[in-house]
C-alpha cells in the first residue's frame, strides 16, 4: 500500500447501480415505485445524469430466486432485459455511460449490441 502518495488532482468517478430486485431493494415503503415500469428507470437514469454521475449500471438475472424449490415470495423480482432497457434509456440521455451486466455463460458474444 502506498496510501501516502499525494494525488492533489485526483478525481473519483461515480457510477450508480440500479439493482431493482432482491432483498437489497425495499418495497415495503408505500412510496416505493414500480420495479418494472419504464418511468422508474427513466427517473433514476436521468436524475443520475443530472447529478453528474459517470455511469448507470443495470444488473441482470436469468431466473427468479427460489427457496426449497419454490419461488421466493419475499423479495422484489421482475426486471427488464438489460440491453433492451439501456437502449431505451440511450434515447433519452446524452452524457451518462450505460453499462449492462450480461452473463457470459448463457448468451452469444457475437450478438451483443454495441448501440
Amino acid at each position: 500500500m502506498t496510501a501516502d502518495v499525494a494525488r492533489p488532482d485526483a478525481q473519483v468517478h461515480f457510477g450508480i447501480f440500479f439493482q431493482g430486485v432482491n432483498h437489497t431493494t425495499i418495497w415495503s415503503d408505500p412510496s416505493s415505485g414500480s420495479q418494472i415500469d419504464f418511468e422508474t428507470f427513466r427517473r433514476v437514469a436521468t436524475t443520475a445524469e443530472r447529478g453528474l454521475f459517470d455511469a448507470f449500471f443495470l444488473g441482470e438475472g436469468l431466473r427468479l430466486r427460489e427457496q426449497d424449490g419454490r419461488i421466493l415470495e419475499l423479495d422484489i423480482a421482475g426486471r427488464p432485459d438489460a440491453i433492451a432497457q439501456l437502449a431505451a434509456l440511450a434515447g433519452i440521455t446524452e452524457r451518462i455511460g450505460l453499462v449492462a451486466t450480461q452473463n457470459t455463460t448463457y448468451n452469444e458474444p457475437a450478438v451483443w449490441p454495441d448501440g
Binding site: 419504464f38 421482475g78 452469444e108 450478438v111
Partner: protein, 350 residues
C-alpha cells in the same frame, strides 16, 4: 376489425441496394441514433401504424452494417407515443428466452407498442457467425420457428397480471401461485421459466411472420391478384401484405429514380408486389387492398425520398378517406390492430 394498418420498414436506407446514393444522410450517419430517431419520428407524425426494423447477423449488399433491430426499436421507444415498434428477431439460432425478454422489455419501454417479426434464418453463413451447427432442413427451420414462438408466448404468460401482491401484512412481494414454470421441452431446446420480465403491458406483444402461430401473417404476391389470393389463404387473426414502393417526388418520377438506382446496382428480385408511381396511384392501390387485407407493410426504395411523399400525400389521403386511422396516444399496438388483450393461459380463479 381494426382500421387498415399501414406499416413501414426502416432498415438501412431503403430496399434498393443503391439507396444510400440518394439518401439524405451524410455517410457517417447510417448507424447513428439520430438517423433512426428522425425517420421513426417522421413515420409517427405521418400516422403510420407501425415501423418495422429488419435484421440479419450477416451484412448484405444494401446494408453494410447495422445496429441490431431490438436496440433500434428500443432506442426510440421513449421518444415516441403512438407508432408500433416491430423488430425482426430470428427464430433460428437465437435464444428464445432472450428474445421473449427483450420484446417484453420493449413493450414496457414503449408502453404497449411492441411487436416481433419472428423469422427463420436460412443461411449457412449465419450458423458460422453464431458458432452453431447449421440448421437448413425446411422442417427443422419450421420447428424452430414454431417452438420459439411457443416459448415466447408461454414466457409472456408465465407471470399473471396480478402476480405482484405487495402484501405488507404477510411480507410477500409476490404470490408464487400466480407465477408459472413453462416447462417447455422441444426437440432441440427446453426452457423452464418463469420469465424474468413480468407479463408485458399488452399481455402478448404482437407476433408477425410468414409462418407459425402469429397474430399478423405477412403475405406476398407479385401481382395484386396473387396478393389478394395469399391473403384469402391466411388463417391468422390479421393479415398484412408486403409492398415495395417507389414514389414520384417533386423532382423526379419513380421510374427515373429507379432507373438511376439501377445504374449503380441492379435491384434485387423481390418476391412481393412492387409499386412505382404517383402518390395518388398508391392511395388507390391501398384503398382497393383494404377490402382484402388488414394492412400493408411498405418497403420504400429510398427512405429519405419516399417517406416524405408518403407522409405528405399518401397517409393523409388514406386517413381523410377513413381507410387508415392515425394511432392515438395511450393505445396499444394490439388495440390499433383490433386485437384484444388475451387472457393469460395459466390464470385460474384465485
Amino acid at each position: 376489425m381494426g382500421a387498415f394498418g399501414v406499416g413501414i420498414e426502416l432498415d438501412g436506407d431503403g430496399y434498393h441496394p443503391a439507396a444510400w446514393r440518394r439518401s439524405g444522410r451524410t455517410p457517417d450517419r447510417l448507424l447513428s441514433g439520430d438517423t433512426v430517431r428522425q425517420r421513426v419520428a417522421a413515420a409517427e407524425n405521418a400516422g403510420f401504424t407501425l415501423a418495422t426494423f429488419a435484421d440479419s447477423i450477416l451484412p448484405d449488399d444494401a446494408v453494410p452494417g447495422r445496429i441490431d433491430a431490438v436496440t433500434r426499436a428500443s432506442f426510440v421507444a421513449a421518444t415516441t407515443s403512438t407508432i408500433g415498434l416491430v423488430p425482426t428477431v430470428a427464430t433460428t439460432y437465437a435464444e428464445p428466452f432472450h428474445t421473449a425478454s427483450q420484446i417484453a422489455t420493449l413493450d414496457y419501454s414503449s408502453r404497449g407498442r411492441a411487436g416481433w417479426i419472428a423469422q427463420r434464418v436460412d443461411d449457412e453463413r449465419a450458423a458460422a457467425t453464431w458458432g452453431r451447427p447449421v440448421v437448413s432442413a425446411d422442417s427443422d427451420l419450421a420447428a424452430e420457428q414454431r417452438d420459439s414462438i411457443e416459448v415466447a408466448r408461454r414466457l409472456w404468460d408465465s407471470w399473471e397480471d396480478d402476480a405482484v401482491v405487495r402484501d405488507y401484512a404477510s411480507g410477500r412481494f409476490l404470490d408464487r401461485d400466480r407465477l408459472h414454470y413453462i416447462d417447455f421441452e422441444g426437440e432441440t431446446f427446453s426452457v423452464k421459466g418463469p420469465a424474468i420480465v413480468p407479463r408485458p403491458p399488452q399481455g402478448q406483444p404482437v407476433v408477425f411472420g410468414v409462418e407459425g402461430a402469429v397474430d399478423v401473417r405477412l403475405v406476398t404476391g407479385t401481382t395484386v391478384d396473387e396478393l389478394v389470393a395469399a391473403a384469402a389463404g391466411s388463417d391468422a387473426p390479421r393479415t398484412f401484405g408486403e409492398i415495395a414502393v417507389a414514389l414520384d417526388t417533386p423532382t423526379a418520377t419513380a421510374a427515373d429514380r429507379l432507373a438511376d438506382l439501377d445504374r449503380h446496382a441492379p435491384a434485387r428480385s423481390t418476391a412481393g408486389l412492387s409499386f412505382a408511381g404517383s402518390a395518388a396511384e398508391l392511395v388507390a392501390l391501398l384503398t382497393g387492398l383494404a377490402s382484402h387485407l388488414d394492412g400493408v407493410r411498405l418497403r420504400p426504395a429510398v427512405i429519405d425520398e419516399d417517406l416524405p411523399v408518403l407522409a405528405r400525400l399518401v397517409l393523409p389521403a388514406l386517413i381523410r378517406a377513413g381507410v387508415a386511422h392515425r394511432p392515438v396516444p395511450g393505445s396499444t399496438l394490439r388495440a390499433e390492430l383490433g386485437l384484444s388483450r388475451p387472457a393469460n393461459r395459466y390464470a385460474v380463479t384465485h
